[in-house]
């Protein structure tokens, strides 16, 4: 078992120190809500008269969520402990901080903890007379959806959801319009990942699982939740073929549609590998005569120091959605 080797002070101080470091590095975008680990836009004027957009969840996915706070994207982000949903009081503080009388929209990833804590906060806000609606993102197709289970997980596609809703909110969409947009877009966003190693939670001190030196695992989640198959590492093209075929089963990729592509590094995988992976994805899509109209490659929804990559395909069923993706923002990380 490898020892943990990290640039930190003490494991319990990771989140407060990280949030402080981020906010003080980027005061032009971010402000910390006092006595919380929630972060709100410093450009208050940009929120005037608009629906507030709040996201959040466990920490460890940097730059998600706080890196996407700013004009044109999130109004606030709530940073929980590492891989642990933030508590309702913190989420509630963020809701209050961004409420401009037009209501507040919540972006929640589909984990029991996130859903329960955000919904408790929503209850608290509604008791205060703040209108709150939400979308529960579940883009990870590695997990079967079923009425009898928790359902699919929310992963990198959440970043695209932030972008879409942020652009719409900035253009004055109402709370109901945001809900409609979110519900319409969600089924068109599919993500699947492959891991080369697991993340090490600082307070735990060892990786969430162990892979042999030549092993990979398909379908792993962003908290090192196990995936659907383990095997020997393969060339990038073959990883792409596997992941893309899984997405194809769900989305039935087809040259008559427009697609956006998000290739996401999990934290320890360098851009060199991400660009090669991207080359292989674009080649494989070209075999189907598909050229994505929007592509982003980088570390957006990480899993601390996990090595691996995720592939998100977003079918742009409406032209407006591409405009939202291209809409200018002022954030640390988009």
């Amino acid at each position: 078992m490898k020892e943990m080797k990290k640039i930190i002070n003490s494991p319990q101080d990771v989140v407060p120190e990280m949030v402080d470091g981020l906010v003080r590095s980027y005061p032009e975008y971010l402000k910390q809500i006092p006595e919380t680990e929630a972060v709100v836009r410093s450009d208050q004027a940009s929120m005037k008269g608009k629906v507030g957009l709040v996201s959040g969840g466990g920490s460890g996915h940097e730059p998600t969520h706080a890196g996407f706070v700013g004009k044109g994207m999130l109004s606030a982000a709530v940073c929980g402990q590492v891989f642990t949903s933030p508590t309702p009081d913190q989420i509630y503080a963020a809701i209050k901080a961004v409420n401009q009388g037009k209501g507040v929209f919540l972006v929640i990833k589909n984990y029991s903890g996130d859903v329960m804590n955000f919904e408790m906060a929503r209850d608290m806000a509604e008791m205060d007379g703040i209108a709150v609606k939400e979308i529960i993102v579940d883009d990870d197709i590695a997990v079967e959806n079923s009425l009898y289970t928790q359902g699919k997980r929310g992963v990198a596609g959440t970043v695209l959801m932030h972008k879409l809703l942020g652009a719409a909110a900035d253009q004055g969409a109402s709370l109901d319009e945001l809900e409609t947009l979110a519900k319409k877009a969600l089924p068109h966003i599919s993500t699947i990942a492959v891991a080369l190693s697991a993340a090490t939670v600082p307070e735990v001190g060892k990786p969430g699982f162990e892979l042999a030196d030549d092993e990979i695992e398909y379908g792993v989640g962003i908290h090192s939740e196990p995936g659907y198959r383990r095997e020997k590492i393969k060339p990038s093209k073959e990883l792409v073929a596997e992941l893309l075929s899984k997405i194809d089963e769900v989305q039935h990729l087809d040259a008559t549609h427009q697609y956006a592509l998000l290739i996401n590094g999990m934290g320890a995988t360098p851009l060199m590998e991400q660009y090669i992976f991207s080359h292989d994805v674009l080649n494989k899509l070209a075999e189907k005569n598909i050229t994505p109209v929007f592509t982003k490659v980088g570390n957006y929804m990480t899993s601390i120091d996990m090595a691996g990559i995720s592939l998100t395909i977003f079918e742009l069923a409406e032209q407006k959605w591409l405009e939202y993706l291209n809409y200018p923002v002022a954030t640390v990380a988009w």
Binding site: Q81, F83, D89, T149
Partner: protein, 194 residues
């Protein structure tokens, strides 16, 4: 009868138990979760200890509510709202009755409503439900609690992170079931049932 004194004693023992088993709870959470249940619970009981220390001559309702708010605002994750809701429901109920069987039944209802889990879904509900039943039929006790916790081992998880594993969750104890087991065991140790 649940009293302020008993509740305080109970929380002290629960604190000590979580403090001691923190690493084990996180370890249980590793193969079928995200490895943080021990840390989550530790933050929770730290919060409970701090908040209770600040109370002056509290009523039972205030005591239970304080525990609930500390858990809700310190634990996070899935277990925070669930344990928090449990104590909140007990606080709501305790004017009416201080009978453990009745209070824990109210708590169980809260947990089920908040999380949507049923018995057999491999969650803390699989400790709470048989324990509430045992309190009514008189079979409540350390052995019964241990059995309830152990019963989660062979279940397939249908709620919480472990559910993403499907059948591969079989063979592992549920961490929330284990921490709930500690809660009831320390209740007994505090003198909760004679």
């Amino acid at each position: 009868m649940l009293t302020v004194e008993l509740t305080k004693k109970w929380m002290e023992l629960f604190y000590a138990q979580i403090d001691q088993e923190k690493a084990y709870l996180s370890e249980l959470d590793t193969p079928i979760g995200d490895g943080d249940h021990g840390n989550n619970m530790k933050r929770g009981v730290d919060g409970v200890k701090d908040s209770l220390a600040k109370l002056k001559d509290p009523t039972l309702k205030e005591t239970l509510r304080t525990i609930a708010m500390a858990l809700i605002s310190k634990v996070g994750g899935a277990s925070g709202p669930l344990y928090g809701t449990a104590f909140l429901e007990m606080a709501k109920k305790c004017d009416e009755s201080q009978e453990p069987a009745i209070l824990f039944a109210a708590a169980l209802e809260g947990i089920k409503k908040r999380g949507g889990a049923k018995e057999g879904d491999k969650t803390m509900v699989d400790v709470w439900a048989p324990t509430v039943k045992a309190l009514t039929d008189g079979s409540f006790g350390t052995e019964q609690i241990k059995q309830a916790v152990a019963s989660t081992k062979e279940m397939i998880a249908r709620k919480g992170r472990a559910s993403y594993l499907g059948e591969r969750s079989v063979g592992h104890l549920d961490p929330g079931a284990m921490s709930s087991g500690y809660l009831f065991e320390t209740f007994i140790a505090a003198g909760g049932v004679k």
